[in-house]
Symmetry: C2
Subunit: 375 residues, 2 copies
């Protein structure tokens, strides 16, 4: 199968490298990037060349960003070309439109690499759904924030220090807000919920991040046998569903509390199979490239991901009601003025409102859900 | 697709239940069991009825044991019927013969449920191998022993006490040796190595179990920030491979040390995708039934697992060389006469020989490998 790759950055290079080295049944015949980056024989700045080339059956989008990724994906699908994408932002925003365009032309839309990098997460949910209903999912879906928390724990370092180090290593962006404020996980939670619960998931998912997490917070919880991770979570029950992204207090001896470095882990719970967890590299050139090449091989073997959002469940955040812990006051050990308060039985939407209220008077306030098993 | 189920015990009932309730594209038309168990309309004591029924395209073997499972599987494959089996003992022993029979007739042989119950382990290795070489695997592949160790840790209980409780709960057999001496994991390690490394894996894998593990051992290691799990492990490098089953000392903050209850977790390491971990229920009626129904759906969609053992790597146990710890003497806290000795840089074969030597004078001696990261 002949393939065009859009965007020759970290992920695009991984895809081309893997196909050139290991996969005889695929051939990258065009690589689209900005004119100043076009040097090799296969490279072109013109997406139109791809659309007009009938020998190209699949387009691999690794440009990132919303435009022109969005319009390129729609054009490719309308032209009957399969689309494989790692772009969580554009899939989260335009999933319904992409599914409709794919359905209309009969082309395949494959999005494995948009959530969890090299982890076979989307494909595993789709496979599970052939037999099972999905009752819930949860997981660590952002490697940067897991790396930051892990380093804070291991070295007793404070947030800003580790963030600066992560930026130097290339694990965190210069503007880290997509990671540390939970926006990246928000996109992945929305995509996961759509696939797992057969619903065009609402964009009103409550989200909080770990920007205000301190070394003192981690010490406070560790003394209680607990740790904190930034989790995506979703529940579906009796035709209703809820999704949230929030820091969550976990038992130190839970699997999630012990995920090291920048790894991801995600759990899906099926009615007959029980809980299944999937762990691996959630980002990076080769792991993400691997996931995209796997998608291409599935498409070339005739498999077509099937998404149907026509009869989705209703949004109901009460399904995720739990206790929360709100920390206000300076959380430095020196000041020792931090105040930890348990807020009982809030929905994640109510909890996010309580945090917003607290942030007005204390811009360093921090809120985390209490995992039921960590109480 | 019409299906016959062989054996109507725990797993067979799970398969029939899932297909009847959830899967419209499959139909169980015959169930073979002993004459005294045949009551329903679909039930028959005659396997010949299945072989002679051309409308039956696939046979689901959940009888367990070696015979007649072995000859039924061969007959079914020779008759061009797909075979789905959960029987690790028979696959471990006759994998090459089954693969040859399947190849000759064009029928599919699917073995997902033989390792890791409901965990998509074999399919994930096969998928990974489309692109990647597998450099290693390791994991907890026996739920009974994980349950025993977990209960010993959580309740400070001793081995025999927890084993008796596990037998009452149905987690352990009346004769527990297949679990606690590592035979069950041996079969699963052999199958995993064959699939991961493309080799008819040698049956001379060194195996030790946890029969002699004591509460005092666990306390000794916990005081050092360590835990013990029974691991299957395999390495493949430069045309050579090694496989072993042995208790292994792990860091308390590793993922594996925190696997609870009777869950399984297994890791595969690919050249481009890095390490992937898969966690779930390694046994049980519905999880194992789920894996078998997934295999049936894959076969009905035209997928055929492909095994080729013709150019396998050479056996070389030096690839798994590591330090070991040998405990001799009574390990009860009262006696406090236990002696822990580090044995440096042994192959698993040499280590097993050292254990056998020690067992001659001390039938309660216990040996565990030291995980490199747990030193």
């Amino acid at each position: 199968m002949r393939v065009a790759v859009l965007g020759f950055g970290t992920v695009g290079r991984g895809v081309v490298d893997i196909i050139d080295r290991c996969v005889e049944s695929l051939e990258v015949t065009k690589i689209v990037d900005l004119p100043q980056n076009c040097s090799g024989l296969r490279m072109t700045p013109s997406f139109d060349e791809v659309i007009q080339d009938d020998s190209i059956e699949a387009v691999v989008e690794c440009m990132g960003g919303i435009e022109p990724a969005h319009s390129f994906i729609v054009q490719a699908l309308e032209a009957g070309k399969h689309v494989v994408t790692s772009n969580k932002a554009v899939v989260a925003q335009y999933f319904e439109e992409f599914v409709a365009a794919a359905k209309a032309s009969g082309a395949g839309l494959a999005i494995e690499a948009s959530v969890g990098g090299g982890i076979p997460w989307i494909a595993s949910i789709a496979k599970l759904r052939r037999i099972d209903e999905v009752s819930s999912f949860y997981g660590i879906l952002n490697g940067t924030t897991n790396y930051i928390i892990d380093q804070m724990n291991k070295h007793g370092a404070d947030f800003d220090e580790v963030l600066a180090q992560a930026q130097e290593l290339g694990y965190a962006e210069r503007d880290p807000s997509a990671d540390i404020d939970g926006i990246d996980v928000y996109n992945k939670a929305l995509i996961t919920a759509s696939v797992a619960f057969d619903v065009a998931c609402t964009r009103d998912i409550p989200v909080s991040g770990i920007r205000n997490l301190t070394k003192a917070d981690l010490e406070y919880f560790e003394a209680r046998g607990q740790s904190i991770k930034l989790l995506a979570k979703g529940v579906c029950k009796d035709g209703r569903y809820a999704v949230a992204v929030e820091p969550t207090v976990l038992d130190l001896r839970s699997v999630e509390a012990n995920i090291p470095d920048n790894f991801n882990i995600a759990t899906i719970e099926g009615a007959t199979v029980g809980p299944l967890k999937f762990y691996g590299q959630g980002a990076g050139s080769l792991p993400t490239g691997n996931a995209m090449v796997q998608d291409l091989l599935d498409l070339s073997e005739g498999q077509r991901p099937h998404y149907d959002f026509s009869r989705g469940p209703e949004w109901d955040p009460t399904l995720l009601t739990s206790d929360y812990i709100l920390r206000t006051g300076s959380a430095t050990p020196a000041a020792a003025a931090a105040h930890y308060e348990v807020l009982h039985q809030l929905t994640p939407v109510e909890a996010r409102a309580r945090l917003d209220e607290a942030l007005k008077t204390d811009p360093k306030a921090f809120l985390a859900a209490l995992d039921q098993e960590a109480h």
